[in-house]
């Protein structure tokens, strides 16, 4: 049984290979970028605007609003990173309605890559905001004894991010695959719909958790506990 689209390899040359994960990711990148270009090409600041512009504005301002609610003071600064995280994961989930499509987020490699990006981005934003000393000092808060626990927490939460998203996306694809072999009609459609929902939820959770980690690192506030599944 195939657990990851990584296993579908189109071309390989030693260490370099072109598997389904990378190809579908490129497809998503092209879809997102070309779609954005097509819509933003005809942007207007008039009172009347196209429906697509309205949609994009709602999405962008919605993400901004969410970032703000997490506690980041300047949402526009983090919009690029967090917004792209959300849009990529959401798009990867939504495209599961396309037959033959394998979500790149169903690959642990992709989710690990995203989690690594978060792992690197968090201290970068933290250092940018508080300086080296300010950021490093946060590891020995409230006491020096907490340093190892803080470090473990840093690594474990990155791992959790990666595995959570992978598990959810992979399980969704697995369930549909299993159901197709048992009850080929109707029921897989329902499960696909459920998969779309869980995909959106996961995109939201991934983004919000990243935002919370950044918020914690930038010292705006302590990370709030979010019950993540």
């Amino acid at each position: 049984m195939r657990l990851s689209p990584d296993q579908i390899i189109f071309w390989q040359h030693g260490f370099f290979k072109l598997n389904a994960t990378i190809v579908f990711t490129w497809g998503l990148i092209v879809f997102l970028v070309v779609g954005s270009m097509l819509i933003t090409r005809k942007l207007t600041s008039e009172h009347t605007r196209s429906r697509w512009q309205n949609l994009l504005e709602i999405i962008v301002t919605g993400i901004q609003q969410q970032i703000k609610e997490v506690g980041l003071r300047n949402p526009a600064k983090y919009l690029g990173f967090l917004g792209t995280l959300f849009l990529f994961v959401a798009a990867a989930s939504l495209c599961t309605v396309i037959p033959g499509y394998e979500p790149p987020t169903g690959s642990l490699s992709t989710t690990a890559a995203l989690a690594l990006c978060v792992l690197i981005a968090v201290p970068m934003f933290g250092i940018e905001d508080q300086g080296w000393s300010g950021y490093l000092k946060s590891y020995i808060e409230p006491t020096f004894i907490m340093l190892p626990f803080n470090l473990i927490s840093e690594v474990s939460r990155t791992l959790a991010l990666a595995v959570r998203l992978f598990g959810n996306m992979m399980s969704g694809a697995m369930i549909i695959g299993i159901l197709l072999s048992i009850t080929p009609f109707i029921f897989p459609v329902v499960m696909t719909l459920l998969g779309l929902l869980t995909g959106m939820v996961q995109a939201y959770i991934f983004t919000i958790l990243a935002a919370v980690y950044i918020a914690a690192a930038t010292g705006t506030r302590k990370p709030k506990t979010i019950a993540a599944t």
């Binding site: 990711t25 970028v33 933003t40 942007l43 994009l56 690029g80 995203l114 990006c117």
Partner: protein, 269 residues
């Protein structure tokens, strides 16, 4: 192995490229457009505020002017009303005067017409009475009447006395032409003789007489001598009656002219 490290690196790179592309093609244009619109809306709101202030100012000014205009209009209206009332009063007075004058004139003319009518009626009545009398007497005139007239005439001649008799005698004596005796009918010779005798006896002289017929006497006899006259005729009676009535009418009119229209009415009644 679930994790392929090449794929992890490639995906991280892919993600970073996607972040850059999305920033470039999605977030920046969208945020820029939103900022532009917000600026534009803020500007429009500011403009609207300015316009509202301006409108309020103009509204106040207009209201002020309106009130001023209303005041002026009310003042003008009051003035015009007063003037119109005065003019109305003046015109009414004038019209009343004119009406009074016209009414008085009409009353006068009515009174005059009534007077004229009254006079005409009186005159007509008088003329009719005389005409009837004249006609009756003319119809009655005849030989017997002529005789009686001759008698009356001779008797009157004999009764003459004093100044008139002396004057007539003088006239008869001094006259070169014969005295004329006029009668309505041709007198018979006996009557002529009687009259000749009576004249001769009365004036104690032989008087030459010439007899003439004058139908306008109606009935009667006249003696003319050198401008003097002795007569008895119905015409004389009628003339004197006419004279008497005319005098009466004149007397009546004189007090009427002086009297008020009310007394006219009373007279007319």
């Amino acid at each position: 192995m679930l994790i392929d490290w090449f794929t992890v690196g490639a995906q991280a790179l892919n993600f970073l490229i996607l972040v850059w592309l999305m920033k470039r093609f999605l977030y920046q244009p969208i945020l820029h457009a939103i900022d532009e619109r917000e600026k534009r809306i803020a500007k429009e709101l500011a403009d609207a505020d300015a316009k509202r202030d301006q409108a309020q100012k103009e509204h106040d000014e207009f209201q002020h002017r309106n009130e001023e205009f209303d005041r002026q209009r009310a003042a003008l209206l009051d003035k015009a009303t007063d003037e119109v009332n005065a003019e109305r009063k003046r015109l009414l007075d004038k019209a009343r005067q004119a009406a009074d004058a016209l009414s008085a004139k009409r009353r006068d003319s009515l009174t005059r017409e009534q007077q004229d009518l009254h006079e005409k009626m009186t005159r007509r009545t008088q003329e009719e009475v005389f005409a009837i009398a004249r006609k009756a007497l003319t119809d009655l005139a005849g030989t017997g009447l002529e005789e009686r007239m001759s008698e009356v005439f001779t008797q009157r001649l004999r009764e003459l006395n004093g100044e008139s008799k002396a004057g007539l005698a003088e006239a008869l004596k001094s006259a070169s032409d014969p005295a004329i005796v006029r009668s309505a009918f041709d007198l018979p010779s006996e009557e002529r003789a009687t009259i000749q005798n009576a004249i001769n006896e009365t004036f104690s002289a032989d008087v030459h007489l010439r007899f003439e017929t004058a139908p306008d006497l109606v009935s009667g006899i006249e003696l003319h001598a050198n401008g003097r006259k002795v007569a008895w005729s119905i015409k004389d009676y009628l003339v004197s009656l006419e004279k008497g009535i005319a005098e009466l009418l004149n007397e009546e009119r004189r007090p009427e002219d002086k009297s008020t229209p009310a007394s006219h009415g009373t007279l007319l009644e």
